[in-house]
Amino acid sequence: MSEFLYLFRGGDARNLESSPERLQEHMGKWMKWMEELGKAGKMTGGLPLKNEGKTVKNRGVVTDGPFAEGKEIVGGYMIINAKDINEATEISKDCPIFEFDGTVEVREIQSMEM
């Protein structure tokens, strides 16, 4: 078993959906997906990120905003337990982010074991 990082990009309902009812429905899908992952012991953590931020280069050069732009901005992350990257990728396919055209980047976390 290894740990994997999901980086969520895009999939912002904001652009395509304004109905409170549909938003709540979409939120329900996220909650259900994450609850199932939690119950199966697959999810060890995750948090949403604010869109504002700062990028620092060269110790002193600070620009406003995240490193990327628009659809490339990372909106949140999750840490998953999986056998290998194939399983981790498989699990991500049920993520509701795809409903609004988002993407999931799957990266294995380097463990310290030899």
Partner: protein
């Protein structure tokens, strides 16, 4: 949590419109949207808060305060709480008060009266009410009314323009004004209910939601002493009796099932019980109006175990009372149907031909068709039903008539 976002959206828009003034209602709507997006982002990761309502209100309030601070110019609307608050430099305290339960009720009431202002066209009233008070999106409203989003947008614009041009303030009318305006509000909300109840080709789930929203608005009106009048209670009773039968009215193919063929086991007993409760309240005293009588008629229907066991003489008397205050062809037509139940279809046909001044209305010919069929005049029955079919655009109604014709032909 059912419909939480939708209901709270309506409440928050009402409160924030009081804060910013009606001229800036879009600001209120934007803040409410942003608040829900924030919940969408955070609740899955953190948890649904113990008090989701309070969480939403707090976020909306903070966003409102931020917005007010950003605005460099003062809001000049005299009915804007913000204008007064900014002058007193006590913005957040004032806004906090507006999020108290009784103030939220109050804000919604003011909003109902503004949205249902009589000078606005009825479709625009309905669109504005659904959007701002009931938390429906433009897409949902367009879907429910089987029309384009552009059309709904225009209706909303016209309604808002009218309110701005006439300087309509966010107030609950008082005194004699109240009675008149309340009548107008009830009429619009009932029409809204009927859109949900009768709409023939829209999504059945949205239609049911519209009915429930209309009922929620009337319940809101009954919770305020000033607006809790006989007509309000009676309308609520009437809506309960109609809504109770919602599930039994449509068959698997989307065709209409008439009252006499509805499976009464599918009728919602709890809603019927509530209908009786509200009707009892409305019947205290001697005031009568069309809603009281119509609710009375539905009460008699809902208390019968079958169509045949219905107390028709009582219903006939009620229709006679209704005719005295609402002398319309539809009422006369319905009365004739009841006469048919008591004295046979031939008498009903006579009654309709002599006393119902109606032409080119599908229901008129559909009713005659059915009555001719009952009196074994197959030729006339077919004529009338075919004529009825040509007079309606509704798929559900056409299906119903087709079924009747098929029955006759077999």
């Amino acid at each position: 949590m059912d419909h939480l976002f939708r209901h709270e959206s309506g409440k928050m828009v009402s409160v924030l419109t009081r804060v910013f003034g009606f001229n800036d209602i879009e600001m209120a709507e934007d803040i409410v949207q942003e608040t829900m997006y924030k919940a969408l982002q955070e609740w899955p990761f953190h948890q649904v808060p113990d008090n989701p309502q309070a969480w939403l209100y707090k976020v909306a309030r903070n966003k409102a305060i931020d917005m007010l601070r950003k605005q460099k110019k003062l809001l000049y609307n005299t009915d804007s709480v913000a204008a007064m608050a900014l002058m007193e430099k006590n913005v957040s305290g004032q806004i906090d008060e507006l999020f108290l339960d009784h103030e939220i009720q109050d804000s919604q009431l003011r909003m109902i009266f503004a949205c249902c202002y009589p000078e606005i066209s009825i479709e625009s009233q309905i669109a504005l009410t659904l959007k701002t008070l009931c938390g429906f999106s433009i897409k949902e409203i367009a879907k429910a009314f089987v029309t384009g989003e552009e059309t709904i947008n225009k209706r909303l614009l016209r309604a808002k323009q009218k309110i701005r041009n006439e300087n309509i303030t966010l107030d609950v009318p008082t005194g004699r004004e109240l009675g008149k305006r309340l009548q107008s509000v009830l009429k619009t909300v009932y029409l809204l209910f009927n859109e949900g109840y009768n709409a023939s080709s829209a999504d059945i789930l949205i239609r049911k939601d519209i009915c429930l929203e209309a009922m929620r608005l009337v319940i809101l009106l009954t919770e305020q002493p000033a607006t809790n009048q006989v007509e309000t209670q009676a309308l609520l009773a009437l809506m309960c009796f109609h809504a109770a039968r919602f599930d039994s009215r449509i068959d698997a193919e989307g065709g209409i099932i008439l009252l006499k063929d509805q499976d009464r086991k599918l009728w919602d007993k709890e809603l019927i019980r509530k209908g009786y409760l509200y009707l009892n309240e409305a019947s205290i005293g001697y005031i009568t109006n069309e809603y009281v009588i119509e609710a009375g008629i539905m009460a008699v229907h809902c208390s019968a175990s079958s169509y045949d066991k219905t107390d028709w003489p009582v219903i006939l008397r009620l229709y006679e009372s209704l005719e005295e205050i609402k002398d319309t062809p539809v009422v006369k037509l319905n009365k004739a149907i009841v006469i048919g139940q008591i004295n046979g279809p031939k008498v009903a046909i006579e009654e309709i031909l002599n006393n119902v001044p109606m032409k080119d209305y599908y229901l008129y010919h559909a009713t005659l068709g059915e009555l001719y069929f009952q009196s074994n005049d197959v030729f006339q029955a077919k004529q009338q039903l075919k004529l009825a079919m040509s007079l309606t655009d509704s798929n559900a109604e056409k299906l119903l008539l087709e079924k009747k014709l098929a029955k006759i032909n077999s």
